[in-house]
Amino acid sequence: MIIGGNETVLVQGITGKQGTFWSERMRDYGTKVIGGVNPRRAGERHLHLPVWASAQDAAKDQKIDAAVMFVPPFGVKEAALDIIAAGVRKIVCLTEHVPVQDTMYFLAAARERGAQVIGPNTAGLVTTGVNFVGFMPAFNARVFQKGDIGVISRSGSLGTLLCLNLVQAGLGISSFIGIGGDPIIGTTTRDALVALDKDPATKAVALVGEIGGAMEEAAADYAATMRKPVAAFIAGAASPPGKKMGHAGAIVMGNRGSYAGKKAALEEAGVTVCATPNEVPGVLKARLKR
């Protein structure tokens, strides 16, 4: 989903420790990793793949459909603008702690060029059995089995738990869309819900939200129009207001972003809101039988 099985992927920061580790796993899983970018090591080969000085250089040699960034926070804006200038249409930004004004800047540049950004602060995307982009344990058979549930999550760790719970219950995952835990992100909960609604491989959706912001409320408007069942878990019911709970976006200010508000909006839209992630598979099974 979002990044198709035949689409090529460029890795910004491929030579770093995490870039290397996850590029190998992505490639082993089936992702079409074509190489990477590191200005200081242009012309070398890494993991038997070419290294370019920039995405724009890479685009002269190869067709690039998507790019994923293993780049430190203050380097993200420049790397993203390079990818956008190279004409890449899909950008996955994994980095946490990107200054929000930098994010807004490259999101605006991406909008102008018609590029889709996933993240920042996302664990990435998985199309089970086809490819993955980011750092999700797609290759772990206890977490990912092919099936027909689409999963949306702001959090990588919680998304992983939810996928695992689905597999433990005998269900499987069509696609996982990690949207990221930052307050401003390129692909919202609603965008991800629309994508899974249109996806023929997805029959039902597990939506993992968090306190803070208004993305779950916006997604609820769309969920009300869907025929596919949606079950949700919203993290943060026990979190005190006014404190950032790990994610920069996970903070309740006044009434805005509260658990109660999100639960009410989703339930009004016909979404079943579960008390713990472990309850999600049972709810989806029951709703799919109806």
């Binding site: 200054p99 004004q101 800047y105 019911a237 920069a248 008390a275 713990t276």
Partner: protein
């Protein structure tokens, strides 16, 4: 990071926006001295929170004695969660009109939003509710910057005679917002004085925490979050830890999973003792993380919930086991471990601690909640 009024006003002045003459005072004597120099003044509690006036933290004074008296009353006051330890003594100005101006990060438009209203002096929520027609909202294309001509034209609809002066302030406010990596910079009220000139009577400033490493100078003038001793220890190690009032200690990876662990504890009748997240780049810090969680004397049982994607559960579990064997706490510990490295992690917990991790998080949570209740009974 939040800033007090006087720290925010320094940012405004650096951008060329005038503020009233003001002096910071930390004692009644300093306030009296400031009043002697300034004349008729306003004594204002410097805490990074709203509703200072309603709390009695803002008072007018005409004489040094009066200033000292107000200072004595306000210093030491608690407003919101902040104790007042310094004041701003500002010169009183002749107010003709009160307006509102702000720039903020807007999740809806995914860009900066500039707000202006000729009706100021009250909360923006109230302005939006009571004077919706008098609220100018401009979504700025951050790659192109503020369109000054369009802005001037828009402001002219609200206040033709003062449009160019207001536009000038809004342009400077946007520059201050960009230069300081602000989440929010707000002037409320923006005052037009009887002589026609404008002055920022108050300033609210919040800087994006992610940008603090490149805003070191500015960050040194901000107000650090209030922390407990344990929270301060965790912060120094770049660990995300929040102390709570329950008895079930939490150690998990990833913000989402950590919040969820707390939620599940509450759902099954217990209360979490803390938020402690060692995911992301912190996954090798299990030892100091555990030490901090256990240093809270309220912790009666510990729940370890790992679900590794990026974070390797074997590395985290090894850290926890080492710390546990070293600290030898006399409380029960419950594990649930999944994801990257789980086989090695589960085997280590089994072999070195003789404990069987739970396969379902809910089961682990129920056991931890019961253990904490049993311990305190």
């Amino acid at each position: 990071m939040n800033f007090t009024e006087h720290a925010g006003k320094a940012v405004l002045r650096a951008a060329g926006i005038p503020t009233p003459e003001g002096i910071v005072a930390r004692t009644p004597e300093e306030a009296a001295e400031a009043a002697r120099r300034i004349g008729k003044c306003v004594i204002k509690a410097q805490v990074p929170t709203g509703k200072r006036g309603k709390a009695g933290g803002i008072k007018l004074a005409t004489t040094p004695d009066e200033a000292a008296g107000h200072a004595r009353a306000i210093l030491g006051m608690t407003i919101g969660e902040h104790q007042v330890d310094h004041l701003l003594v500002d010169r009183q100005v002749n107010i003709a009109r009160e307006m509102y101006a702000a720039v903020l990060n807007d999740p809806e438009t995914e860009g900066p939003l500039l707000l202006f209203s000729p009706e100021g002096g009250m909360d923006i929520e109230d302005i939006a509710a009571e004077h919706p027609d008098a609220l100018l909202q401009i979504a700025v294309d951050i790659t192109k910057g503020l369109d000054e001509e369009a802005l001037a034209a828009a402001v002219r609809r609200y206040d033709p005679p003062a449009a160019s002066a207001i536009t000038d302030i809004l342009v400077k406010l946007y520059e201050a917002y960009r230069a300081s990596d602000a989440e929010l910079i707000e002037i409320n009220p923006l005052v037009q004085m009887r002589d026609g000139h404008f002055v920022a009577l108050d300033c609210k400033l919040t800087i994006d925490d992610s940008a603090l490493p490149r805003q070191e100078m500015l960050a040194s003038t901000g107000t650090p979050d209030k922390t407990t001793d344990l929270e301060a220890r965790a912060k120094a190690l770049h660990l995300k830890y929040i102390e709570l009032d329950g008895g079930v200690g939490v150690l998990a990876n990833g913000a989402g999973l950590t919040m969820t662990t707390m939620d599940a504890i509450r759902h099954f009748g217990g209360r979490p003792a803390n938020f402690m997240e060692i995911g992301g780049d912190s996954y090798t810090k299990a030892v100091p993380a555990l030490e901090i969680v256990l240093a809270n004397p309220n912790v009666k049982a510990l729940l370890v919930n790992f679900c590794g994607a990026f974070a390797r559960t074997d590395v985290m579990a090894e850290g926890v086991i080492n710390a546990w064997l070293h600290l030898k706490p006399k409380i029960p510990i419950v594990f649930t471990i999944h994801g990257t490295g789980e086989d090695e992690a589960i085997a280590m917990v089994r072999d070195r601690l003789g404990i069987e991790p739970y396969d379902l998080m809910d089961d682990a949570v129920k056991v931890a909640v019961a253990a904490a209740k049993g311990a305190s009974a």
